[in-house]
Symmetry: C3
Subunit: 173 residues, 3 copies
């Protein structure tokens, strides 16, 4: 079986996006790329452009800074999808002061409804010392809970370290 | 063999407490729960209440913000114990300006004296960039050294990632 | 085969240096120790002295805060080498405003030219929340990219957690 949810976790500049792209590419094109980033400043714009040029041909790009569940539902159910990344999507909802728990539930149900492969990239952000500011702590908690929630229903969970995969869970039949 | 020391490491909101509870519950109740948290503010109070309501029946709660070694020694030697968590206990000693090395040694000897299962939860805090302030760096060093020390004598060491266990060491006979 | 590149990653106070020393010591002395640290303050001086006293006999120490490639090339090709650590070396180049990409390429080619064992220690720094300041973000990116680059050509990559090795890659024949 090649469908279902794959969760790719990693730190900053761990190579998690590149690894996730490779997983999606093992299935036939066209692949859907759901970008959750919003180009708020030059630093972010440069990063988005770099990712886009690396991906190359065969990708259909969708932008979903907020409505990730709706975007997933509108895709052909069997199309392989890369979501990059959940942590930015969560940040966007946090900044918009949305109900993160409700958004997480809507995302879970959209993912559960897809028979095709969905590879979701997320940051692992909890391995540092406790942040000074309360918003950062709140975000760190929300990101950790979302990761747990999706990991529980994922077929495979991978932690990318220096570009290499550590398999944390694999229940592929 | 089902006794001995198990060290459960993880980042913030990694699901490490929940995983550790599950490990203790595999043995017959009653289980001892040693809480090291002190409810210094509302944020911490809410977190403590959440953990307590999740644990449910079968747990005997002990509070040991500082005297963890003494609390361990006073328990029945075969009773399964969950210590949650070592990082807060270390913080309490650091704020009290105690000798962290001596406290670590006393803890090690109390753990070594227990034939029953003792599952200790600790934060992995060293995977970020170097903190700006000296106290945070000192704490990060102390937490890392304590984790190394206990890991060396543990029967099993687990790193919890998104609620899932990565086995780092297992010398269970 | 006992030569080639081994990359040892870990957080602060994870025991990565001690683990890396043990790997080098499995080969016959004398071993080369390449220190990249510069004693800029008392905290750093104390850390360097501690590492030196722990290593003991059999080590030939070389200092290479910047010219790591040149130092590697000047060693006997089969001598076992420990480089501790790449993250400080990168910091030194960053502070000197050198071209990090060019330095990384020079290092890669020096490593590729060594038939003997070269164990490189590096910090994994990307698992926290996004740092507030731009220099810290830039450093975090550069460190992550360097780790990926070396991991791709390493024979073995190890993540040290609480003094214990998690094998991330092993293509030892």
């Amino acid at each position: 079986m090649s469908g279902g949810l794959v969760l790719v976790l990693g730190g900053a500049r761990s190579g998690k996006s590149r690894f996730a792209e490779g997983e999606v590419r093992r299935q036939p094109a066209p692949w859907a790329y759901i970008a959750t980033a919003e180009a708020r400043d030059g630093e972010m714009e440069a990063r988005i452009a770099l990712h886009r040029s690396r991906r190359g041909e065969g990708w259909q790009t969708h932008e979903a800074p907020l409505d990730l569940a709706g975007t997933l539902k509108a895709l052909p159910p069997e199309q392989p999808v890369l979501v990059d990344c959940l942590t930015l999507w969560l940040t966007n909802h946090l900044l918009a002061e949305h109900d993160l728990d409700a958004e997480g539930a809507a995302l879970e149900s959209a993912l559960a409804a897809r028979p095709g492969l969905t590879v979701c990239v997320a940051n692992e952000v909890g391995f540092g010392i406790v942040p000074d500011n309360a918003l950062a702590r709140w975000f760190r908690d929300a990101a950790g809970l979302l990761n747990q929630r999706l990991a529980a229903r994922a077929r495979q969970v991978v932690l990318v370290v220096a570009g290499l995969p550590l398999i944390v869970k694999d229940v592929t039949p």
